[in-house]
Amino acid sequence: MNPTRGCGTTNRANGVKGRQTVIELENVAYSYGGGELLSDLSIKLAPGSFHFLTGPSGAGKSTFLKLCYAALLPTAGQVRLFGADARTMDRTAVALLRQRVGVVHQDCQFLDHLPLIENVALPLTVAGRNVAHEEANLKDLLQWVGLTNRASALPPELSGGERQRAALARAVIMAPDVVLADEPTGNIDWEMSQRLLQLLIELNRMGKTIMVATHDLSLIRAAKTQVQARVLRIKNRRLQLAGADL
């Protein structure tokens, strides 16, 4: 079975967008008000690239991802998303950007009054797409993340791992150009995290840009055997390319 069958059929990243840099940070700094948390970050994520992001707890991994989907604006420097300066985007532009970027939050939040399957389909709903047309994709995707029999459960009735899997499914349902996942396997056993990794790798092979923040080194090791993944590390407020020490 193809795990990415559920992720739509268009392959936009390999299409019109061509070789344009998807996410680009230039001398970016960020501070929550106290001292600087991130300083002088510069990086370009090419379309179709696969990145891991590591670093000790509290280093700023989640913060970095939030800069990448315009949930936060840099306190210095420039963040360009699909070529547009994040600072100049109005809120509608940010909303449209989010339709092209699938995000898995560290604390997976859902609409607690809607069953899991509607939560996973939510990006389609708010984009005005007809969910009924995508039902086959939706079912395939749920199957792959092992949630078929929980499809009608409400989010508060899910286990920790089930929530994370649902969040990943929601992030990829629109077949977005970019997937940003923050600790998507924190509460998931080894077997299931391999399965989720497979899903991300398939998406990457379709040309999607993937960035996964994780502290699970064995996950990174497993990925490196299958795709060309770069490992970024945040240390002392800077972004480093992690070497062979993994």
Partner: protein, 297 residues
């Protein structure tokens, strides 16, 4: 960002993204209902007070009496002089000397039916009807003093005038309370909408994360609250009308409470309450949504 067309046009999918129930919803329903209920009563009070003021007013406020005491031989001259003066007084619509029968009727309570009125030095009475604006009583008195020395101007409205003004004030009070009630409704709905939006900040966060625009989110909330306010106000209005309908209906037009029932087309006025409540809720929620969405950005 949100317009009425988006409100009317049903969007079942978008509707579902806002949690359906919760206490803020009940609060909105209830405040709209309570305020509509009170508004119906305030409206009825205002209308009844207005009717009363008009009733008492037309009955008395615009008529007064000129009493002329004179020797029998001078009487007719003086009456004629007084009528002439009155004819040229601005604010006097008409003036007319009462005839003997009318005066007899007026005095009957005092002297019984058999009073030989032309035998007595009874003064002659002239009934004055004022225009809406009324005349200048002290000015008229001065003129009469010169030309008709035996005339005494008695605007016996003095007696009921405070009542008329009380009714008028009551009407003002009624309209003021309608204003107050509308303000309260708007404030309640705004606060309830704010509470709902704040309570649903997670919902807003999730919707934003998956790419919903502010317009989409606002529409879902505004729609819900507007419909709730209309529903609540409709129920409250109905209960209010039922309450008024149940009040005992009196037989005297004078009585405030028994004359409290709505009459004729006035029954149609309360129907305006739900749409007004809806409009209030629409504007209040839209403002609240815009503010909250800006704040959570």
């Amino acid at each position: 960002m949100t317009d009425l067309s988006g409100l009317i046009q049903s969007d079942a999918a978008a509707d579902r993204v806002v949690p359906p129930a919760g206490f803020t919803v009940q609060l909105t329903l209830f405040s709209a209902g309570a305020m509509a209920f009170l508004a119906v009563f305030a409206l009825a009070l205002s209308l009844a007070a207005g009717r009363l003021a008009v009733h008492w007013g037309t009955e008395l406020a615009r008529s007064s009496t000129l009493r002329i005491s004179a020797h029998a031989e001078q009487m007719d001259t003086q009456v004629a002089a007084a009528l002439r003066v009155l004819e040229t007084t601005p604010g006097v619509e008409s003036a007319r000397a009462l005839d003997t029968t009318e005066q007899q009727a007026l005095l009957e309570p005092w002297f019984g039916p058999g009073l030989p009125i032309d035998m007595l030095p009874v003064p002659r009475l002239i009934e004055i009807l004022e225009t809406g604006a009324g005349y200048d009583a002290p000015g008229l008195r001065l003129r009469l003093q010169g030309e008709v020395p035996g005339a005494v101007l008695d605007d016996h409205t003095r007696y009921r005038r405070p009542l008329v003004s009380a009714a008028a004030h009551l009407r003002v009070l009624g309209w003021l309370s309608i204003l107050l009630i509308s303000g309260t409704l708007a404030a309640m709905v705004t606060l309830a909408a704010n509470a709902a939006l704040a309570a649903n900040s997670q919902v807003i966060g999730v919707l934003r994360l998956v790419g919903a625009t502010d317009a989409y989110i606002a529409r879902a909330f505004v729609r819900r609250f507007t419909l709730r306010a209309i529903t609540g106000a409709a129920v409250g209005m109905m209960l209010g009308l039922a309450g008024i309908w149940l009040l005992p209906e009196g037989d005297t037009a004078n009585d405030l409470l028994t004359g409290f029932a709505l009459t004729g087309w006035h029954w149609g006025l309360p129907v305006l309450i739900p749409p007004l409540a809806g409009a209030t809720a629409f504007l209040a929620t839209r403002a609240a949504a815009a503010r909250v969405l800006r704040g959570l950005a």
